[in-house]
Amino acid sequence: MKLAPRITRSALAVGGVAVLIASLTGCSGGLGGGSASTGDKSVTSNSDLQHDTTITLLTGNDPASIAQGKAYADGFHKAEPKVTVKIDGSKPAGGDGDNYVKTKLSTGDMDDVFLYNSGSLFQALDPDKTLQPLGNEPWVEDVDANFKTTVSTSKGFYGAPVGTSFAGGVLYNKKVYAKLGLSVPTTWAQFLANSKKIKAAGITPVLQTYGDTWTAQLFVLGSFANISAADSSWAKQYTANDASAKYAKQPALEGFQHTQQVHDLGLLNKDYAALTNVNGLKELAEGKAAQYPMLGVVISNVQQSNPDQVNDIGIFPLPADNGADTRLTVWEPGAAYIPTSTTGDKLIAAKKFVAWMNSSAGCAVQNKVVAPSGPYSISTCKLPSTVNTVVSDTQQYVQQGKAGVALEFLSAIKGPNLEKILIQVGSGISTAAQGAALYDEDVKKQAQQLGLSGWN
């Protein structure tokens, strides 16, 4: 549980993608002026509004999320002049944001539409009681089947995808790789060998940025597809408290060991303890560092800070010890939801708004403000014709079947202290084995708090 907001606790709140920078520079998908999408089936389907209606949209409180929300609001208002969407940019990032959403829902005070994660975080909202079912909306048939499961309970379907899916892996500087004659590693040993050559060339081999604590989790969370490849039933056994599926045991222990190794072998940047994600990305883009275990979504930051170097950066999966298991780990996009407290005209307007987001005009806005980082999860949305190299690399792994879904879409369990534990392991305060054992305890506590069977 909680991958995306934990892993992206700074600003990537909604499923990581939707919240990133409204990078208006280098935008590739042109938005056709104010072209209203009146012919769109998804927009005209509902009963019509009698009066002018104002609804509110809850977004994250960082500038990028608010700018993005505004772009949706403006675009929709052009298509549907009777409805005005007001932005409530008040949701804090990370765990505080989760609580904020839960508090608003449980006290009946939620905005008419809100953007939030799919997967386990969505499940924690008690959707059957708090959310309006959207299963009968006409656009549902266009939604990707995998995504559907991440916003559904046994009783209903509740969310419309917003943004693209994205990968977690190693962002690397292709120019540095070319200059040193390196090839993309598929085993952990090759990764270390590459890293040593990079170090010998006077370039930082592996970036870590504990100034933003969530970034410490990549070696573990970003390699989950490798675990699934080694043992396809791992997630199920892990959820059921099966003694074989623990982080203190292989294959899951690998992620902790790798976190420790890059530190012990001196492969990290010297300021790893304080460096922030954005500054780390700058170093990667400028070729001062070569490899950065990261989420693909952050590429939009590079688009803003180093627009000329965006296509110098590619992504490959975090390599497993056994190269046959190496896969790219993929996250589903976040979604737009409507709470049960929204009724009447506001409900009609909210449904129209949600439908519009995945209409052709809505997708154009998404392409423009969100900077795609992987495939969309609804067939009505298409990627722009030219995409950056991180997106094309991601697509390649997905098409070759060399990708797997992240743990938060398979299990509700995630210990809240993973990032802290991994920082200890990655700074030499504790060993991989100690960290993994501690994390298993953390997981147990969370499972017990969820009241899952088999954990007491």
């Binding site: 990133l20 920078i21 500038p63 409530d88 008040s90 990032a93 508090t103 006290t107 954005v278």
Partner: protein, 268 residues
Amino acid sequence: MFGLIAIAASAVIFLVPFLFVVLQAAKTPGEASSLAFSWPTEWRFLPNLVDVLQANDGIILRAFLNSSVLTVVSVVLTTLLAAMAGYVLERRPSRWGTVINFFVLAGLIVPPAVVPTIWVLQGVGLFKTMLGMILIETTFGLSFNILLFRAFMRTIPRELDEAALIDGAGPIRLFLRVVLPLLRPVVVTVVVVQAVAVFNDFANPLYFFPGDENATVQLTLYQFQGQNLSYYNLLFMDILLITIPPLVMYVFFNRQIVAGLTSGAVKG
């Protein structure tokens, strides 16, 4: 000589961080992100100020208005109620004293429970209203200020009360005309401390006073944070802006504090 050293040391310890904020607020985005303590090569103070004021439809102006109303009203209420309670508590010892003491301490120790408090606010119809928020801040400030008032009530001689009573003053007159004026240094202290606490409060308005039109100043800091460094200069400009009202208030009250202090506080 000693005084000069004190001035120099205090300047380094207390003013350099402030200067850092001012310099950062005047820089270009790129320069601000380097975090160096340096003179801006290009002085962008005004453009940055305009950017911050215009950000997000001028949310900061709304926030200033909301925070000001909230601060002024709740501080007046807290000061009055805490003074009254502290006064009776000190002057009229009873066997309830220990129990009351315990509850006052409890108010300082126990963090407020968010969701049940929202239920109460919804129950009395004050959720998401300025009045509700004012009462919340007033309540949460009571313990701290009762403790302060009670401590200093001791320094006011009881003979004064008695003299006033002999002159035929009622309890309200005694309190407002005799006791409260003598407490001026404490009142000023309470006003300043409480005003700063409310003005700088982040968590309570977030939960008890939600909504964009209800924004308070601390929430605006997030408009310039997030992951994007290009807002760094604006972030510091915002910090600077929202520090100014407490600063002005303090400069104003500082004279009062000094006046209260040098008058010797209590004259017989």
